[in-house]
Structure formats: C-alpha cells, structure tokens
C-alpha cells in the first residue's frame, strides 16, 4: 500500500516536473542558452501569484493568469534585454551563463528585500481529501495531474499542429534552413522564451495548490529539475521532457520506498546522471547537442 501511496505522490510531483521540463526544453533546445535566470522567473511568477491573491484579493485562477502574463513578459525581456545584447557584443556562451546567473542573484534578492526571507503559503480551496483504504489522495494531488495534462496537451497541440509550433521544432534542428526559408528566427526565439516562461507559473501554481509554500531561493532548484528532465528526455525532444519530468517525479517518490525521504532528490539526480552516461541521447532524443560550452 505504501507503494501505491508513493506512486500517487510521484504522479503529483511528476506533473509539476513535467511542466518544468517542458519550460526548460522549450527555451534550451531552440536557443541553446542555459537560461538560469529561469529560476528567477519561476520565483517572480510565484510571488506575482502571491501578491495578487494575498494583497490584491483576486481569485486564485485570476492571480495565476497574472503570474503567467508576468512570466511571459519577463521571458521576452530576458532575451531582448539580456541575451541578445550580449550576443551582439560577441559574448561567449560562458559569459551568457554568468549574466544569467547574475540576473537570478539580483532578482532573488530583490524578492527577499520586498517580501522577506521567509516563505509564504496561500490557502486555495481544493476538493476534499479522498481515501481509498490506506491510500490518501489530497485535493492538490487530484487537481495537479489534471491541470498539468491540459496544459501539456494544449502545448503539444500548438507544437505539432500550428505553423509557429512546427517552426519552433524545426529551430531545434537547423536554424539556417529556417532562415533560408525566410523565417524570422529571432521572433521565433522570443516566442520560445515567452512560452517557456509562461509554463513556470503554471508549475508554481500547482505546487501552491498542494499546500507547498513559496520562498525566495527556490527557483534554482526548479531550473535544475527542468534541466534534468530535459536531458533525461533527450535534448532535441521538447515533448520528451514532459514524459521525462513525469518519470523523474515517480522515480523520486518511489526512491522513498527503500531510502529515507531526505535522500530522494540526491538519489534521483545520481540515477539520471548514470543513465545519461550510458545513453547520452536520453529517452527520446535522436542526436547530441552540437554546440559545446
């Protein structure tokens, strides 16, 4: 029974990780930028939700929508005001990573100055906890997988059925070919940054719904989880990151079956890294990233 409970917990965590993986993959696979400032976007998005629902007294869904809009703007800002000017100055990818980290440090600590270092939690009304014998299913655990599935389905529909989505997938493989066909890849990358960032508050909202608090420094963990999911799924497969994210959550949760809970994350990372050493292309990837740092 413990196993079933852990599986339920894992599916819940995995649905959040799937969104984080999708977010990281959308930005990284199309632009090959290590967007660490994504951690700051995650934090800021969560705090917009917090401010809107706690101080603005807005309903949670509306607050989340505001968070999503804010994150999308921040995402576009990161490429327009940060990465593109740096690229124009001929900065190496290493300098871009450092600038990204710098932006994250600044944003995280501005949040601390504004909201204090302690965490917050928001009370959201969710369905009551169901119990199936000894297995408990909290309201958040019911809402999260459903909501995540809807978001992922909508996004995949966009990715595979719309013109822009197809172009974004083409961007993963060959930017020059797109340019030759007269596609403005610069705008396409802005779109990737907007969508990738907009996915973050969705993940934050799901973790808030389940009762997890938000705190100023929790963004960088989200970046690492997203990056792990993407590499696990395969660098050239955006949709693979969602599946891998779900798998990551389930593995992490099931690790508690044999180990104390504080080791869950460390063991999961170690397992994924070992897997990647054996199979660097990941679960669904076809090729390895060409550019090196």
């Amino acid at each position: 029974m413990l196993f079933v409970q852990l599986l339920v917990n894992g599916i819940f965590a995995g649905s959040i990780y799937a969104l984080l993986g999708l977010s990281f993959a959308t930005i990284f696979s199309t632009t090959k930028i290590w967007h660490f400032a994504q951690g700051a976007v995650y934090t800021l998005g969560a705090y917009v939700i917090l401010a809107a629902s706690l101080y603005g007294k807005l309903p949670f869904a509306l607050a989340t929508a505001l968070g999503i809009a804010a994150a999308a703007v921040l995402g576009v800002l990161s490429i327009v005001a940060l990465y593109r000017p740096l690229q124009r100055r001929g900065a190496s990818s290493l300098v871009m990573v450092m600038a990204s980290l710098g932006a994250m440090v600044i944003a995280d600590n501005l949040v601390v100055l504004g909201f204090g270092p302690t965490g917050y939690s928001i009370d959201v009304s969710v369905p009551a906890t169901l119990s199936f014998g000894p297995v408990l299913l909290t309201g958040g655990q019911m809402v999260a997988p459903v909501a995540a599935t809807i978001v992922v389905a909508l996004y995949l529909w966009f990715l595979f059925r719309s013109v822009h989505g197809r172009r974004m997938r083409a961007l993963i493989d060959n930017e020059e070919l797109l340019l030759l066909n007269g596609v403005d890849t610069g705008r396409l990358k802005m779109l990737a940054f907007a969508i990738g960032s907009a996915l973050l508050p969705c993940a934050a909202a799901l973790s808030i719904v389940s009762g997890s608090g938000i705190s100023p420094y929790f963004g960088i963990q989200a970046v690492l989880t997203g990056a792990m999911a993407m590499f696990f799924g395969g660098v050239d497969s955006i949709e693979g990151a969602a599946v891998a994210g779900l798998a990551l959550g389930i593995i992490e949760s099931l690790a508690a079956f044999i180990l104390p809970t504080e080791w869950q994350t460390a063991v999961t990372y170690a397992l994924i890294l070992l897997f990647l050493m054996v199979k660097p292309t990941g679960l669904f990837g076809r090729s390895l990233p060409k550019t090196t740092l």
Binding site: A91, F231, W263, L276, P289, L293
Partner: protein, 291 residues
C-alpha cells in the same frame, strides 16, 4: 579593526586559491563546471571529520582533503569523457546538489544542518596558530605555493595542450595527444587545490556547515573567475579580492542585517552583470569580446 581586516584577507587568500584552481578548468581547458563550492566543502569536511574523529592535525587533514577533492573531481570528469559541453554543466550541477545533500543529511558523520564545531587550529613547529596575522602568513605561503604550482603547470607543454583543447579539441586529438587523460589531470589538479582550500577554511573558521558549500558558493567562485578574467590566473585572484572585500565594505553602511544580506547579494549580482556587458574578459583581460 586590524584583526578584522587581516581576517578578511585570510578569506581572500582562501577564495583566491579557489578561483585560481577553477580557472585551470574554465579558463585554460574550457571546461565549464558548477561544482567548485561542493569540492571546497569536500576538502573542508574531510579535514574536519579526520580531525574530530581520528585526531588528525591540519597537515594530515589537508593532505587527505586534497586527495578527496581530487577524487571527487575525477568523478565529475567521467561524464566529460563521453560527452562534453552542456552535459558537463548538468552533471556538475547535479553532483553539486548530491554532495550538498550528503553534507546536509549524513548527520552522524557531518553533523547535519548544525555542522561541526571545534575543529583544531593548525600547529606549526609545535605552536598553535591562533592570531589572524599568523593565519594570514601561513595561508599566504601555502596558497602561493599551490598557485605557483598551477602557474608552472599552465606555462609547461601540458598547459599549452590544455589551451589547445579549449580552442579546438579535434586538433590535439588529431596530433595524437591524449585529450581524455589531459582533461582528467586538469580536473584532478583543480579538485585537489579546491580541497586544500577547504581544509584551510575549516581549520581557520574552526566550524563547517552545509550552507557554506551550496550552489551559491559555486556561483560565487565562478563569478570571481569571470570578473577577474578567465585564463589569466592572477585575474581570478583579483576577482576573489573584489568579491570578498566589496560585500565586507558594505557592512559599514548604516543598515540592519536583514536588509544588508540581500543588498550585498544584489550588489554582487550587479557587479557580475556589469562585467558581462562591459568587460566580459574580466579585469585582467583586454576590452571587447572573448578571443
């Protein structure tokens, strides 16, 4: 006041060594990792644990810390044998988190979140080092020796080969040079130096706790290398001076500590951003983009 300034300088010397050792990887070999904070911690915990449980002194502990740092660094090097670039960033970041989890959760060995207290001070010729001034003298000499070793290393044919790997891995490979072995050596030297810095830190502060060695420590050391100028060795040392002294200087502002802490971080982030935009080759490098 003098004691305080000398104390800050001791920290400068320790972080200077860390930055220089990371520069060997990033600046010379072109291997980008985010794990130096955890390697630093590996050295600190190794010497602290040996001192507390087996009665090791500073010297024995330092030696063990170097070995431990080198071995863990070797572990991180393994992924770079198969894949490079982006995977190394992920792998090193992952190892950073795993090691931090070890420091935090191995309660019985590392003391868990509370850390370890009462690490003995170094003894030199039978006398215990206690004053900050003697610490500064001892650590400056030790740090200078290691930095000198790295300096000789990068000026040697070995160092030239590392630079060749940075510029284009295929060329040294085509010339029949053992690229994999060279990378592993660079990783091990860098890790051993970071471990040594950790031992110096543990025996100076006499207290170690996990949050000193988290991912933010790794980012700080990376920033020192970037601000100073990659691939110059003395540049990263200068970067360490800037990033250790600047936050200390802010301490004298009339602010309460709840504001001061985050404000220091904001200033540090801004310094980093300014360097990325205005002087991406750091203090020691020239103007303009990287090579």
């Amino acid at each position: 006041m003098t004691t305080y300034i000398v104390g800050v300088l001791v920290v400068v010397v320790i972080f200077g060594l860390l930055a220089v050792s990371l520069d060997l990887l990033i600046g010379y070999t072109g291997l980008f990792t985010i794990v130096h904070g955890a390697l630093f911690g590996m050295g600190a915990y190794t010497s602290a644990i040996l001192a507390k449980s087996l009665g090791f002194g500073f010297w024995g502990g330092s030696l063990a810390a170097m070995v431990a740092g080198g071995l863990i660094s070797l572990l991180i090097a393994i992924p770079s044998l198969r894949v490079s670039g982006h995977y190394l960033v992920l792998a090193s970041f992952g190892v950073q988190e795993v090691l931090h989890a070890l420091y935090l959760n191995l309660d019985g060995i590392t003391g868990g979140p509370a850390g370890m207290r009462g690490i003995p001070r170094p003894r030199l010729f039978g006398t215990e080092i206690t004053s900050n001034t003697s610490y500064l003298m001892l650590y400056s000499v030790l740090s200078a020796l290691v930095i000198l070793f790295i300096l000789v290393l990068v000026r040697s044919p070995f160092g030239l080969l590392l630079k060749a790997i940075r510029e284009d891995e295929l060329v040294p490979q085509a010339l029949g040079k053992p690229v994999v072995a060279l990378k592993i050596k660079a990783f091990m030297v860098s890790g051993a130096a970071a471990g040594f810095a950790g031992a110096m830190y543990a025996h100076y502060i006499t207290f170690v706790s996990p949050e000193t060695f988290d991912v933010h420590a790794s980012i700080l050391i990376l920033s020192m290398v970037l601000i100073g100028g990659m691939g110059t060795l003395w540049g990263p040392f200068l970067g360490a001076v800037v990033l250790v002294v600047l936050p200390e200087a802010l301490r004298f502002l009339p602010l309460d500590s709840a504001t001061l802490g985050p404000l220091r971080q904001v200033v540090y982030g801004m310094v980093l951003m300014v360097f990325c935009f205005v002087r991406p080759r750091g203090l020691a490098g020239g103007r303009g983009g990287i090579e």
